[in-house]
Symmetry: C2
């Protein structure tokens, strides 16, 4: 009777997930579930229908999924994320007069009232629906319209499944309310969510006393693959500047043979699109990428958008740098410190188009060499708008590219970078050591809105971070931190040999810098497969691959323990029936014991269930029942349990087994 606008009486709000009012995309991997909820209601007592719809951004065609009422005007629906790339989802809802009419009719009949006048109302609705249908459906609806006014047969027809289905299909949607936002969804490939990173300096990949090469890295691939890593991250592989080169242990007085920091990018032999001559050639990189691919490994390069004073850009594009009033180029600085070997770009340069375009060209250059993963150095010191633009440009063409944000900065800045498009992000994991810190931080990451845009990548160490835990905790601390990283995080990484071999010497007391850091010199590592804790690294990566529960973070739940030194948590893949329970002794020096109070429902267990916990690290198996169970962990043997949880099932032949 009135125009559709006036009839849009349904209110849709409180939609989740929704990042900053739809300004930013939620993230999923292909095939992953997208569960959407909303408050949907109208004035009066009308019945509603509510539909979740989604489409690839490139298509105008929506796919619709009926939402279900959860009560209290909350509705829910879900769909599996489609192909990699950008998608949209939204909600539409409208008033369902036929559903309300059928309910009303039933109430009248139950009260023994004459349905006559109601049947006429229904007849009009069915007849209108026939007008919207075509073919056989239209004919069926026309026939129903004829029959439904009959006081004897009408009520039965009104309640029939066939008519209900047809009336839903040919519903009058002219008054449909459309949620004002088409919310963005970015779908990545699986490695965006589940990945094990291995960082190594290629120049240390060779034999002792020789500058390693990319070809040497190829010879290390079998070991890295057997350990179970699937991303091999190399610090910058570009020519290194001579000007103000840093010496070993970051001294300012290098000798002629010192190799400098790989982050001081650019020399006469080239800049961001060149390979350091002593590492090899572009072809060597292609060979490495191909060999890694055969081993199921992505090679990740470092995007460090800064220059040494010797970088070709400095000569060719002085306008891309900031100048002091005296005409000199502004160094990187953190007053009173100055970093004389680094010139930051001036992203606000008048030649913004030129600089930004060149950096995009650099990224695309490496993509053309087969690189699909980038670790981005210090993204928080470049404009937010730059990253949103760059990542957007890249992923429009290549949606499978992964960007890891190296921003150990303020929480809101870290989250904002993730929102702008970074696929994964370093976290504060390295500095979350106590039980209270771990529980609070990972509950925030896995159980709040953060989980929809921020994918954590947990690093117990990096070339910049040798935590005090690792400096003073010995082998137990390495294993405990490794176990936490690999099981709290579906994505995690280690700065390789230094970690596996237990390198724990800091440059000085109170510093987190490594002594003889590879950032400034070549290190000769023991590449023997059995050295250090490589067996435990291997076992953990194997467990991660075998257990889908560990391949995502959203199911993370902490369980109460009565010791501040023992943290317990579980992850569960309900669909595949996989549950992993991890218990870690955070004290690297003493045996700790106590009771774990399991939230059984989070483990897929009922109150009375017996179950087996099978320690995938030690091989031990324990039979538990009920929520309260005893654990004891001696750091001298293993500071952690990684349990597969198996419910006991009694077979028909009265023979027990564990699922």
């Amino acid at each position: 009777m009135t125009g559709p606008a006036e009839r849009r009486r349904v209110v849709i709000g409180g939609v989740g997930p929704e990042i900053d009012g739809g300004r930013f995309a939620i993230k999923r991997i292909a095939g992953e579930g997208v569960h959407v909820e909303a408050d949907v209601f109208t004035d009066g007592h009308d019945r509603l229908r509510c539909v979740l719809r989604h489409r690839p951004e490139s298509s105008p065609e929506w796919t619709e999924v009926e939402m279900r009422s959860l009560g209290n005007d909350r509705w829910a629906g879900g769909f599996a994320a489609g192909a990699t790339g950008r998608h949209r989802y939204g909600i539409v809802a409208w008033i369902d007069p036929f559903g309300a009419w059928a309910e009303r009719l039933a109430a009248r009949l139950a009260a023994g009232q004459d349905p006559g006048s109601e049947l006429l109302v229904g007849q009009r609705m069915v007849s209108d629906a026939a007008g919207r249908a075509s073919g056989a459906d239209a004919a069926t609806l026309r026939e129903c319209a004829r029959k439904i006014a009959d006081p004897v047969g009408g009520p039965g027809l009104a309640a029939s499944e066939d008519l209900t289905r047809l009336m839903r299909e040919y519903d009058d949607r002219t008054g449909t309310s459309i949620y004002e936002k088409e919310l963005p969804l970015v779908v990545d490939r699986e490695r965006a969510r589940f990945s094990a990173w291995y960082e190594m300096f290629p120049r240390s990949a060779g034999q002792p006393e020789r500058h390693g090469t990319l070809a040497d890295v190829v010879t290390r691939l079998p070991l890295i693959a057997r350990m179970g890593f699937d991303v091999l991250y190399l610090p910058p592989i570009h020519p290194i500047g001579d000007a103000h080169r840093r010496g070993p242990n970051n001294t300012g007085t290098p000798s002629a043979s010192d190799v400098g920091s790989p982050w001081a990018i650019g020399a006469s032999t080239g800049g961001h699109d060149a390979v350091h001559p002593r590492l090899g050639t572009i072809d060597d990189l292609r060979d490495l990428v191909a060999a890694a691919a055969r081993a199921g490994i992505d090679v990740a390069l470092d995007l460090a958008f800064q220059c040494s004073p010797d970088h070709p850009y400095v000569r060719e594009h002085p306008e891309w740098f900031r100048h002091r009033p005296d005409g000199t180029i502004q160094n990187a600085e953190n007053p009173p410190k100055r970093y004389l070997d680094i010139y930051p770009f001036d992203f606000d340069t008048e030649d913004r188009r030129g600089l930004w375009g060149e950096l995009l060209r650099v990224v695309r250059f490496w993509i053309a060499q087969g690189i699909r993963v980038f670790r981005v150095d210090n993204p928080h010191t470049k404009p937010f708008a730059f990253w949103e633009w760059l990542i957007g440009e890249v992923k429009t063409r290549e949606p499978d590219v992964i960007f890891l944000s190296e921003a150990f900065t303020r929480p809101k800045v870290m989250y904002h970078l993730a929102k702008l498009g970074f696929t994964q992000s370093y976290t504060y994991f390295a500095w979350r050591n106590t039980k209270a810190e771990i529980v609070a931080y990972f509950t925030e990451l896995a159980q709040t809105d953060v989980r929809d845009h921020f994918r954590a990548n947990l690093w117990p160490n990096t070339p910049d971070i040798l935590t005090e835990q690792l400096q003073y905790g010995g082998r137990a601390a390495f294993i405990a931190r490794l176990t936490l990283a690999a099981t709290l995080g579906a994505s995690y990484g280690i700065y390789g040999p230094a970690f596996e071999l237990g390198e724990s010497r800091a440059v000085r007391h109170g510093s987190e810098e490594y002594l003889d850091s590879e950032k400034y010199q070549i290190r000769a590592w023991d590449w023997d497969e059995r050295a250090g804790i490589r067996d435990i690294v291997t076992r953990l990566n194997h467990i991660r691959r075998e257990h889908p529960a560990l391949q995502g973070d959203r199911s993370l739940r902490f369980h109460h323990t009565d010791s501040d030194m023992i943290v317990a948590y579980s992850k569960r893949d309900a669909e595949r029936g996989d549950t992993v329970l991890v218990v870690v002794n955070l004290d690297p020096h003493h045996t700790q014991a106590g009771f774990v109070d399991l939230a059984l429902a989070d483990l897929g267990l009922g109150t009375g269930d017996s179950f087996q916990v099978h320690d995938l690290l030690s091989g031990g198996r324990y039979l538990w029942r009920g929520s309260r169970n005893y654990v004891e962990l001696d750091p001298r043997t293993l500071p952690a349990h990684v349990f597969a949880v198996r419910r006991k099932v009694r077979t028909e032949r009265d023979f027990d087994y564990y699922e």
Copy 2:
């Protein structure tokens, strides 16, 4: 160097208060504080300035308030709400290079570095600022620019308060980020937040056996004013239909003398803009409004937008009602129930302009008679868009008009109506009886975002609601529920004589309907001032007026007690140093005793403070110290303490008194 758009590097988000992304207004009364917080940050390490700004909606001129950093990239600022009407507030932020420069310079000087080059950078900034200034300020800045490059005098000048102030005033704001939303704020008069409502049926205001009149209501005003009420709410005063008139106790067989329900509006003598002839005339209403105003009382009328079959609209505008296929007008119904005495409007009528316009005319008609407060009957059964439009139209001209929403419906619908513009809202208070219910519900109302748009008005009873608590709890239940309503809610109301006189008889067991309900018949009440619990009502209203702490709801805090039957909470007006602590025994049958664990900080007390709690109901005074204190409440005397909390202060002459 680049355009301002590219330089807008500051991100502003996480703004609160903000209702549904700025779609709806927050509410304050004139002079009330508006505290705003936001996440504000940029890339890199730049310093920011952040400003909260506000303006009346009718003015383009912003007033600015500098925000302060709370740490972790959170900023805060505040202002006092202006005159009644609609306002806007927003946030702007920009990078503060001079502030960063001054910090950098100080760091260099502290490290003994040569400031030379830095001073030149500063000189350029000061010189640029001089270009933006005029008059004496420009001259001063020009002089500073000359002097600041001097290695001896420059550093001192850079740190000087005068230069800092001038540089802030003439800051370069070309790269300012403006928060994308100008958030709406509705400012109401004080009664919107703090009001005590008294509901009575004017036809019961006279002598027994006689139909009361509006003139009789005038004779009741002194009592109502002395009891301390400031809103007198009258159910519909319009002519009542004859068709299908309901008899006493909602029977369908009225006698000729039965008066019918005031909500069956409209008869041959007129409709929504007429006064029932037996109540009097429009002039009588004007007289009542004037007399009430002299007593400091607003008269509130009922907006019940529905018609009896005898309403003039039914004849003159049949198109404003919904018709059945058989041509009859659709009654109100809740199948299988039909309400034959009521026709709802069809707000979707083709003549929407005519119907909506007429209802606005009705409201404006009563405003022209001096009415400034409306209680709106069942707003949730009319379109949301109608209310937003109607209230918006009314308040544009008359911003001091108050609308109370009578929607005892689903929580999200109640909240949505408040967002659409209702000034106050009935709540679920009547059905929140246990301690757990009370704590959960009022924490939600006072401590979540709800508090910015939903102003609760608490009614222990209404003509529709005689709760089981009141049916079975006796005098103690009446006093306890009254105390809860009057102190949990800055606004509350009672359905008058029935409450004060302890009317507790339901029409039948299990029903919340009054026996011999005034909805269907005249009642003869005892108007004697000392009858029932009028003295306690009077005392509570007096306490509310004396204690600013009770005049708002945002400060409400619950305190732990070790009894499930004892609820304790406080309100505080920190500015005026007023604190009230309320302790209620929820059990009307037994004495309850236990310890209250006070959160002393919420009472404005320190851990070691001694304090006096002065029971404003009984007059008793108790000397307490520390957080844990004993209470005992006998429902046969008084089931509640309403304590003024007074901190003990030791004077210089070693003489104690209580603040």
